[in-house]
């Protein structure tokens, strides 16, 4: 009898509590910046694709829902020829983001991806690529890697000496 009354009292008190329910979709829940939602491919500070097609995201993916093909431009810069994520398989674990050596693939605080047709959950590169640096502004992989690309020759990367003159005998 007492416990019954106590329960009713507690429920009555809830009328005066702050509401926890968001009136979605009119009202959106605030998501933290590192919330693992929709996956995007970001760009480097120069506006170029960050993805170099190293296949590490695909290898890290526990459900194998990423597939891509690397290719390169005439100056040796690598980029993905196609990049496909099957979001109907994705479990949003974020391993791909952790594996990415160039900060290209990032999980964004956005979950509004539902589709009536499952086929529409297959995202190609033009669906994934965004015009932003995402969570890691300023990072440019090719500025650090020793590979020569257009407008960045050998020795132009950070902490690099100019190329060795192999004909020189000086120490």
């Amino acid at each position: 009898m007492f416990s019954l009354l106590r329960s009713m009292w507690l429920i009555f008190l809830h009328m005066f509590h702050k509401r926890d329910t968001y009136q979605y979709p009119e009202q959106k829940a605030p998501l933290p910046a590192r919330w693992r939602g929709r996956i995007a491919l970001t760009r480097d500070p120069d506006g170029e694709e960050r993805c170099v097609g190293c296949y590490l995201c695909a290898a890290a993916c526990p459900v194998d829902c990423i597939s891509l093909q690397a290719t390169e431009d005439e100056h040796g810069r690598r980029y993905p020829e196609f990049f496909r994520i099957n979001f109907s398989r994705c479990i949003f674990c974020g391993f791909c983001e952790e594996a990415c050596p160039t900060y290209a693939i990032q999980l964004l605080p956005d979950f509004e991806m539902a589709e009536y047709n499952r086929q529409n959950l297959v995202y190609e590169k033009h669906d994934l690529l965004i015009n932003s640096q995402g969570k890691y502004p300023g990072y440019n992989y090719y500025k650090i890697a020793g590979l020569a690309i257009h407008n960045k020759d050998k020795g132009d990367a950070q902490h690099e000496e100019p190329p060795v003159d192999i004909k020189s005998l000086l120490p």
Binding site: I66, S67, L68, N86, S88, R89, R118, G146, P163, V164
Partner: protein
């Protein structure tokens, strides 16, 4: 056998080895860079440091480099010792100070020895914060990519390229911390073995350029054990596929055959599989009055076969299974070997010599251990490249043995032994029409016409055995050569005699057999090695069939209505006129092949045949070794194995034998029962129902990626993966993860060893056979006690005929093979058509270099630009064989100019 104590546990090891080999053979993980089982030790990288202790009381010990330390009984070492481990970690740290932070864009990543060793030593974080040294790269041709920044100065590349493979144009330049590995200037690497640098280099300085066009990591490839189709040697390869195209060929270690290396034709000649010229769907060409479209193609085939007599033409580049199926389908009396008259004569003679003679055919590794070599009429570098690499090793055997016994230095002490050996070489004699790349190693190289080569061979065998009659009318030069060769061979213990198809001369083959047999008679353990033109030439010859000429006669006489051609371009087997005539007279031509070629143009029905990458089958190599290649991936479209097409046709026709066969195992057993010469091919690979721990062997690695996305663009639901009903392998990543039987190893991988160096874990000892024995079965063994029947008739000497030239074939590693030229890189290195003349002949016909020489053969006009070469026999003319756009002029033959 000495006992060594590793971390206080005793182990038995093999004497004469170095500590690193011993430790790796025992299964320990010890990092190394500069050592390679085929190249020996130089102690350059300081990576394999271990602690050695004087005795049980010694607790302090000293660091030694395992690769430079011979094993001794009661040796005490420690691998786990903290000093040794710390030293190894620091050495990696130093090597990495200049490493360019580009694994993500490096083609080696995922199969990189440097990555593996860095992880193994525990060097996780870079603690060097100063600048990095950089280098400019070089253009090295169509096969290899150069990225010098990644170099760790282990010297493996130059040691392989110069010391092992005899290359001239790769070297180390500059000094101190600026050493540079490359060419003197940009340009194509000349060696035919340059592709091995991609595997030899422990990091990504040299990487496979054809792989770069469609780059895929090793873990993403679907791979299967395969056999190279480039020549008759049967090198073992691993072929890898991704997204439905063949991506890469890598070496598959076989201790008896190719060992650690491949030639560039074998490594890069795979791109025909991805060619736009592929026949992907069956095609029925109608002519007026033919029945309706829409019928299954097999009904068309059956209707055409009903019309009249059917003959079948086999192929030396098709598997044994396919040739057998065709032979059964059309009947043995209607089966013709799809090879030229010349090739047939030569290969059948070789087969007879090996089957009935007392001398055995050498494996490639036995050839590398020969102590004297005689090459008769063969430019090995262009006709059987890997055998040329073996001969290069054989030439070093005697001097190395001498050094080992005189300065008491083990043979694996590479730098010291090379220093002591200097330029001394073992006996190698080459008799060939032209100069060859091996001439530089030869104690004697003679260039003369094929008939004269055979005469010298006969003279040598006369000097060795009284049973062979003397060759009359020898020149003084020839006599001297024969004496020198005979003396050298007599002094040897395991001499090797090499001859083959490129001289196109039966007498040369007979002479080689005579020499080997004469040596055998003397009690010398001689070996023979014959090169054959194509990957299954030997198998086809063992299967047997009628000559191609008889097939032409059958058709010309109107006896045969329908011709079934198996994986063969008849325009490469006969001259254009005969071929055109032949096809004009055929009522129906049914072709099973991979690519649209001249023959496909003339066929009424085309059936898309799977290439080696999409098929299972068996090939017999030049030494009579039957080897199985397994399917890498299921082909798009209707492509399937030729034998499967033929079995389906047979089932539709109600063939009494073939209709009961469905799978690879069935057909292999049927071959064995029908032809006892192939006994044993059943056990080349485990049967289809073979399971390890109840599971199949996966073709894909455990890291294989993209399963649920790669076909999602077509449909979001994944299709059922293809099943392999023919072999013990599966097309998926599910299956047994341990070490499979040696004949079905789809890829080499061991925990912590992602690169090709993981092959150590699959060997009984480093550089030794694979666990369970090297794959393949030799079908031809010599008759040990056979009565030697020497060939008695030496040919007449070659005399130049005025107004005529003797056309001799010149083979090119890049160009002479039919399928490999579809690789753009190989096509780039192919020579343009030419005719090679001696300068005196050129003067005789009033032409100079670059002029066109006109001649007519069988009513066909030829016009070829002239190249002058004074090494060529006067009165002979060399013409390249097999080049596309080069019409077939039968060689050797005399033509009137």
């Amino acid at each position: 056998m000495p006992i060594i104590h590793i971390d206080n546990k005793p182990y038995e090891v093999k004497d004469g080895k170095n500590l690193l080999e011993a430790v790796l053979s025992l299964g320990f993980n010890l990092p190394y860079f500069c050592w390679h089982p085929a190249l020996g030790s130089v102690g350059a990288c300081r990576q394999c440091a271990v602690k050695a202790f004087r005795d049980e009381q010694d607790t302090k010990g000293r660091l030694v480099m395992a690769c430079m330390e011979p094993v001794r009984d009661n040796m005490r070492i420690s691998i786990a010792d903290s000093d040794a481990a710390g030293f190894r970690k620091h050495v990696i740290g130093w090597l990495m100070t200049n490493h360019p932070h580009d694994c993500a864009v490096c083609d080696e990543g995922g199969s990189c020895h440097l990555q593996d060793m860095t992880v193994m030593t525990g060097h996780n974080y870079r603690d060097y914060h100063f600048t990095k040294r950089t280098y400019n790269n070089q253009y090295l041709g169509p096969f290899l990519n150069h990225e010098m920044n990644r170099c760790i100065q282990c010297y493996r590349c130059v040691r392989f390229y110069k010391d092992f493979a005899g290359g001239k144009d790769l070297d180390v330049f500059a000094a101190h911390n600026h050493v540079y590995f490359g060419r003197q200037q940009d340009g194509t690497l000349e060696s035919e073995f340059s592709g091995n640098l991609a595997e030899i280099c422990p990091t990504g300085v040299f990487t496979d350029k054809t792989l770069k066009q469609h780059y895929t990591r090793k873990w993403d490839l679907t791979t299967a054990p395969s056999i190279c189709q480039g020549c008759g040697l049967g090198c073992n390869i691993i072929a890898g596929e991704r997204y439905g195209s063949l991506r890469q060929i890598t070496n598959r270690y076989n201790g008896d055959v190719n060992g650690y290396f491949l030639c560039d034709r074998g490594r890069y000649g795979y791109e025909f599989v991805n060619s736009k010229e592929r026949i992907t769907e069956p095609l029925v060409r109608h002519y007026p009055g033919d029945a309706a479209n829409g019928q299954p193609v097999l009904h068309h085939v059956r209707n055409r076969m009903k019309a009249g007599k059917v003959i079948g033409i086999g192929s030396p580049r098709a598997s044994l299974e396919s040739n057998y199926a065709l032979k059964e389908l059309v009947g043995a009396e209607h089966f013709y070997l799809g090879i030229s008259e010349n090739d047939h004569e030569l290969v059948s003679l070789m087969l007879k010599i090996l089957q009935q003679g007392p001398v055995r055919a050498a494996t490639m590794q036995e050839a590398a251990a020969a102590d004297a070599v005689l090459i008769l009429g063969e430019d090995l570098t262009n006709t059987a490249p890997m055998l040329a690499l073996s001969v290069r090793q054989a030439v070093r055997r005697i001097p190395v043995q001498e050094v080992v016994s005189s300065i008491h230095m083990p043979a694996w002490q590479d730098a010291a032994v090379r220093e002591a050996v200097q330029e001394s070489k073992g006996p190698l004699f080459i008799l060939n029409v032209l100069e060859t790349k091996l001439d530089e190693l030869a104690a004697g190289a003679y260039h003369t016409a094929p008939d004269n080569i055979a005469r010298i061979g006969f003279a040598v065998s006369h000097l060795l055995s009284g049973q062979v009659p003397e060759v009359t009318g020898m020149s003084d030069e020839g006599k001297a050569a024969a004496q020198k060769i005979a003396a050298a061979l007599k002094a040897a213990k395991n001499p090797l005699i090499i001859a083959g198809y490129s001289s196109c001369n039966e007498a040369v083959i007979k002479a080689a057999a005579n020499v080997a047999w004469a040596l055998k008679e003397q009690g010398i353990d001689a070996m023979l090695s014959f090169t054959v033109p194509e990957c299954n030439s030997m198998g086809l010859e063992m299967l047997g069939g009628h000559r191609l000429d008889s097939a032409i006669d059958e058709v010309m006489n109107g006896n045969a209505a329908t011709v079934i051609i198996l994986e063969n371009d008849l325009y490469r087997r006969m001259d254009q006129h005969t071929a055109n005539h032949f096809f004009d007279r055929c009522k129906d031509v049914i072709l099973l092949d991979h690519l649209f070629n001249a023959t496909a143009e003339r066929a009424n029905i085309l059936l898309p045949a799977a290439t080696f990458a999409e098929a299972d089958g068996t090939l017999v190599s030049n030494e009579g070794r039957a080897q199985r290649f397994l399917q890498v991936f299921t082909a798009a479209g209707s492509m399937q194995e030729s034998w499967r097409w033929l079995l389906q046709i047979a089932t539709l026709n109600g063939h009494p034998v073939l209709q009961h066969l469905a799978h690879l195992d069935d057909i292999v057993v049927a071959i064995q029962q029908r032809y006892p010469v192939f006994t044993g091919i059943e056990s080349l690979t485990p049967p289809a129902d073979f399971r390890m721990a109840g599971q199949k062997i996966p073709r894909e690695t455990h890291r294989y990626s993209g399963r649920t996305a790669m076909q999602a663009n077509l449909h979001v639901s994944e299709p059922k993966p293809p099943e392999d009903e023919d072999t013990a392998l599966s097309f998926t990543m599910e299956g047994y993860r341990g070490e499979p039987p040696s004949s079905v190893i789809p890829f080499f991988w061991a925990p912590g060893w992602n690169s090709v160096q993981s092959v150590n874990k699959y060997q009984v000892e480093t550089g030794g056979p694979l666990h369970g024995g090297n794959p393949g079965k030799r079908l031809i063994e010599p008759k040990v006690n056979a009565q030697t029947k020497f060939y008695m008739e030496a040919p007449q000497p070659f005399l130049p005929l005025s107004g005529h030239l003797l056309l001799v074939p010149v083979y090119h590693i890049f160009g002479s093979e039919e399928l490999s030229v579809h690789t753009p890189g190989i096509a780039e290195r192919m020579p343009a058509p030419y005719i090679m003349l001696h300068s005196e002949d050129a003067r005789r016909f009033q032409v100079t270099e670059g002029h066109l020489l006109y001649f007519t053969d069988k009513g066909h006009q030829y016009a070829l630009p002239v190249i002058i070469n004074d090494k060529l026999q006067k009165g002979a003319a060399g013409i390249p064989v097999g080049l596309p756009h080069m019409q077939v002029a039968e060689a050797p033959q005399l033509v009137k100019i």
